[in-house]
Subunit: 280 residues, 2 copies
């Protein structure tokens, strides 16, 4: 059973209506007139980070990737639950938690601590929706413009240099997400590579994402084709009606068209390269 088969099997379980058929990064839960946005991501040694990584950086990344999912929904974080592992230098894990929780003003709600090696950490982030319609990845429409909030490739450069904060300490775009959420047709964070995530949005929306490489903002020093197929930048990718002027810095990188020969075109062609980082 591979991952796609496993997720297909999970979709046959009794699903909450807010699970959205397990086709999005978050779930919604209506409670007493509010809508909560829920997400859970795990990161494992040797899979999502290298053995020997400073536990400070593990903690930051663990929380950041979950807050980034809330950002793409325009949600205000209410708290996190942490599935922690008692690793060596665990005090650095606590300090990393302190740094990111303080930076984004998010309180710790609870969690669990276990001892296991190699370590797998989990985080559940809980947010409050700030719009009646929570943005989804499947809402893009033909004619929408396609935008990204910032340059791609900074995480890649940081990873390759071995000391880049863009890779070690990704910054969830919570303020951008909240400013954009009332206006966008679709939104998601770029975690696995711009091209791959754009194709996912187009596929979910029944559209074709037509991206012009020269329009994509690229981090200084990064090779463009590698930058758009590398992940971990956590910029927000969004589709919005053609006349929309974003209230935050963003670059218009292409358009959504109707369904065609492939869900993603790069400079008018079906790209014949790996679009991003899958199955990690």
């Amino acid at each position: 059973m591979n991952e796609a088969q496993f997720i297909a099997a999970l979709r046959t379980l009794p699903l909450h209506p807010g699970a959205e058929g397990l086709r999005d990064d978050t779930a919604t839960l209506a409670v007493g007139g509010e809508t909560l946005v829920l997400t859970h991501d795990a990161i494992a040694e040797g899979v999502h980070y290298r053995p020997g990584t400073d536990p400070f950086d593990i903690a930051w990344k663990l929380v950041a990737v979950n807050l980034s999912d809330l950002a793409a929904k325009g949600a205000e974080p209410l708290g996190v639950l942490i599935g922690a592992v008692l690793v060596e230098k665990a005090e650095r894990f606590v300090e990393g938690l302190r740094a990111i929780l303080t930076e984004y003003d998010v309180p710790l709600l609870g969690g669990d601590t276990i001892s296991v090696s190699p370590a797998t950490f989990g985080c559940t982030a809980i947010g409050r929706a700030t719009t009646a319609q929570v943005p989804r990845r499947d809402g893009a429409r033909p004619g929408d413009a396609l935008w990204v909030t910032g340059p791609l490739g900074a995480a890649m450069l940081g990873f390759e240099s071995g000391h880049g904060t863009a890779y070690l300490h990704p910054r969830p775009r919570l303020n951008d997400g909240r400013a954009l959420a009332p206006h966008v047709s679709a939104m998601m964070d770029v975690s696995d590579g711009l091209l791959l995530d754009a194709r996912r949005m187009a596929e979910a929306s029944g559209c074709t994402a037509d991206i012009t490489l020269a329009r994509v903002p690229i981090a200084a020093g990064a090779e463009p084709l590698r930058a758009v197929t590398w992940g971990d930048d956590y910029e927000l990718l969004f589709a919005a009606p053609p006349g929309f002027v974003p209230p935050v810095p963003a670059a218009r990188i292409g358009e959504m068209a109707g369904p065609g020969k492939a869900p993603l075109l790069l400079d008018g062609q079906v790209p014949e390269i790996a679009l991003g980082y899958q199955h990690r």
Copy 2:
């Protein structure tokens, strides 16, 4: 840094008021006039279950231990998020999830799937409080009677026989917990051993739990002193005012007294045995 030091360090982080100082098994979150009850527990191969365990049983136990924490709060489950691992025979994991989610009428909200070995699974369970005051472990008062909802030792016998459903498929006492929640001074599930968990309740409450071994219901065939120091039974332990008659089957096993020479007495003596299963 050991586990106690780690948790002490976590308590210095920005905590949500509903985190209760990380001193309980769950957190509460007030949302739109409702109170949610949140819990996260992880289970790891080689720590919480033996390598080679049927993934059906892993899935059941993963969800059951989290629902048991909701049961002790009298909470009605609203859904779960699963941090899954793509193990061999992953279809058995899905079937185990199906079995317990169907049994307790709990929908899947979402989660994450990773590939890592040895596997660590996470679950976040979200429930709705059914009482204005959510029972805590620290609410017991001198004079309260101490009760348990059912026999101890069944999980131990099941573990040792290698085929006992009491160990493989623990049953969270959700209905009992809801019936008891409006009336109890303190409540928790017995996950790590009756004596250990009773001492925890007494310590948190500033009391002495005085338990009479002959009053403790013991599973047929189990040796009493071993049964009360073995975990995984997931019965509910609760303290209630002396005149209280429980609306569900329960055995009165002792009393809460004021603080004394030790937080736990067994037949009037400070027990000199290991009280339960710690640090797993």
